[in-house]
């Protein structure tokens, strides 16, 4: 341990980044060396002088940021297929700019990947083409492949079929739950979605079910489904911040005024939350719907003042 080493590593000592043995040796050296002691003291003084508490993120800023993000997520798409690799390539290129050999390998992979993804298999019916076929072929899910024996009229077609089936069981059965969750999110028939949400509201304690209800409240196109989901979530507004955020979002942005009114009532147990109060205050002053303004004022008037 010498003074040069202390000078180069004093900052690491002050910021508690030295290994235990190195720290011990440095401290032994400081007992004997006034110069190094002063050097480390100056660094400690710098650390103290630079201290300042980090700015607190206001609840309004956080709530506004979250809502803005949620809005953007509605139209955002996850990268799939070849485009998944574009971000990786950008990140890797930062690392490999001083590694020419690896850069060459990456370029080769890029060219090979481009050549492979430009290959389009022929004679495969895409899902869009399958959907255009008449209803007599509705039982067919997709065509996997078509092969003709050379020199003959014999054609072999591999395809997947939809087979109607029925499942019956308790609401605690994972298979039943899985089907209900699928119906709640994916079915084109709003009546089926409504029925599935109606059943799922009987078990909102389950995390996956609660997430499905939140999803329905946020994204389902049918107001009846959204209202049913809200009814199933309202008991969790106070304890679950995800539910609270979803209900706040419904209050602010749902196109149906009935759902917005229900959302105000649902948020009452969470009135201690500053985001809820701030939202109600904003609605009481600015909302274009007079009923929402009145309801917001009425709820605010019943709330105790919190500093």
């Amino acid at each position: 341990m010498n003074c040069e080493w202390v000078k180069n590593n004093g900052a690491l000592y002050v910021y508690d980044e030295l290994a235990d043995d190195a720290r011990h040796e440095l401290e032994m050296h400081l007992h004997k060396c006034e110069g190094c002691k002063a050097e480390v003291g100056a660094l400690q003084g710098l650390k103290t002088a630079m201290y300042e508490p980090l700015p607190e993120v206001s609840p309004n800023l956080l709530a506004a940021s979250r809502m803005r993000l949620q809005e953007a997520l509605e139209t955002a798409e996850q990268a799939r297929g070849f485009s998944r690799w574009t971000m990786d390539l950008a990140g890797w290129m930062r690392q490999v700019r001083f590694q020419p050999a690896l850069a060459v390998v990456l370029l080769m992979i890029g060219f090979a990947g481009g050549a492979l993804t430009s290959f389009i298999p022929r004679n495969v019916v895409t899902p869009n083409q399958a959907a255009d076929q008449d209803s007599s072929q509705a039982a067919i899910a997709s065509i996997r492949g078509i092969t003709q024996t050379p020199g003959t009229n014999n054609v072999q077609i591999s395809y997947d079929r939809l087979v109607q089936d029925t499942a019956q069981g308790s609401l605690d059965d994972p298979k039943i739950q899985q089907l209900l969750l699928y119906a709640a999110r994916s079915n084109y028939n709003s009546g089926v979605r409504l029925d599935s949400i109606d059943v799922l509201t009987q078990k909102p304690q389950d995390n996956h079910i609660r997430e499905a209800l939140i999803f329905a409240l946020r994204y389902d196109k049918n107001p009846g489904v959204r209202l049913k989901a809200l009814a199933g979530l309202k008991d969790f507004v106070r304890e679950d911040v995800r539910v609270r955020d979803a209900v706040l979002e419904a209050l602010l942005r749902d196109s149906n005024s009935g759902i917005r009114s229900e959302a105000i009532r649902a948020l009452r147990p969470a009135s201690a939350d500053s985001s809820v109060r701030a939202t109600l205050r904003a609605l009481a002053e600015q909302d274009s719907n007079p009923y929402i303004r009145t309801e917001s004022r009425r709820v605010l008037a019943t709330l105790p003042e919190i500093d």
Partner: protein, 198 residues
């Protein structure tokens, strides 16, 4: 908002669900990190609008590319890697433009923060103490502006966020040793900039 046990679901499950397109799972992941991300961006940029932009861009990028996450590091490190890169881009752009609406130059060529010079009319404010605080804050801000974006980033993550240099190295796609050297250079520059004050 009060965090609940439900919000602390295992990251692995949430990540896998998010990778399958489950937006609610991704939003649950966002909740675990977004306050810290916003605090970092706010302290680095000094602007709520810029902090919101970085927040938005970081989590949108994370959503689009969560499929690339292969559990080789923690999700915390992965998210912060995105955020620190965006912050670095912001610092580089700011350095290039050399403009900051909140900082002006007086007739003697001294820079000061406009915000720091707004009078504090709250009851109980101590004008002399506030002046000293503003002067110190101005000098610290000026000293930090002398660092390169990377030095600023390492110093921010070490001094203000309290992260280990090994973690900082991972976030900045570099080694722990490089992060150590960067911290050394940053502290040397700051000592030089703040020496006349002490």
């Amino acid at each position: 908002m009060i965090s609940t046990p439900l919000s602390r679901v295992d990251d692995t499950d949430l990540i896998r669900q998010a990778q399958q397109g489950d937006r609610a799972a991704f939003e649950a992941l966002v909740r675990q990190y977004d306050q810290a991300v916003l605090r970092l961006a706010l302290h680095l940029t000094g602007s709520e609008a810029d902090a919101q932009d970085i927040y938005q861009e970081a989590f949108l990028k994370a959503y689009r590319h969560v499929g690339n996450f292969r559990f080789e590091c923690s999700f915390y490190t992965w998210i912060y890697r995105i955020v620190t890169n965006l912050c670095l881009d912001h610092l580089r752009r700011r350095q290039t433009r050399k403009e900051d609406a909140a900082v002006v130059t007086d007739s003697e060529g001294e820079e000061y923060s406009v915000i720091d010079n707004v009078a504090d009319e709250r009851a109980g404010a101590n004008p002399e103490r506030d002046l000293m605080r503003r002067e110190l804050g101005g000098k610290i801000a000026k000293a930090l502006n002398r660092l390169t974006p990377r030095e600023r980033m390492v110093f921010e993550l070490k001094h203000y966020q309290g992260l280990k240099l090994r973690t900082i190295g991972e976030m900045l796609n570099t080694t722990e040793e490089t992060a150590k050297n960067t911290l050394f250079r940053a502290t040397q520059k700051l000592r030089g900039a703040l020496a006349p004050m002490r």
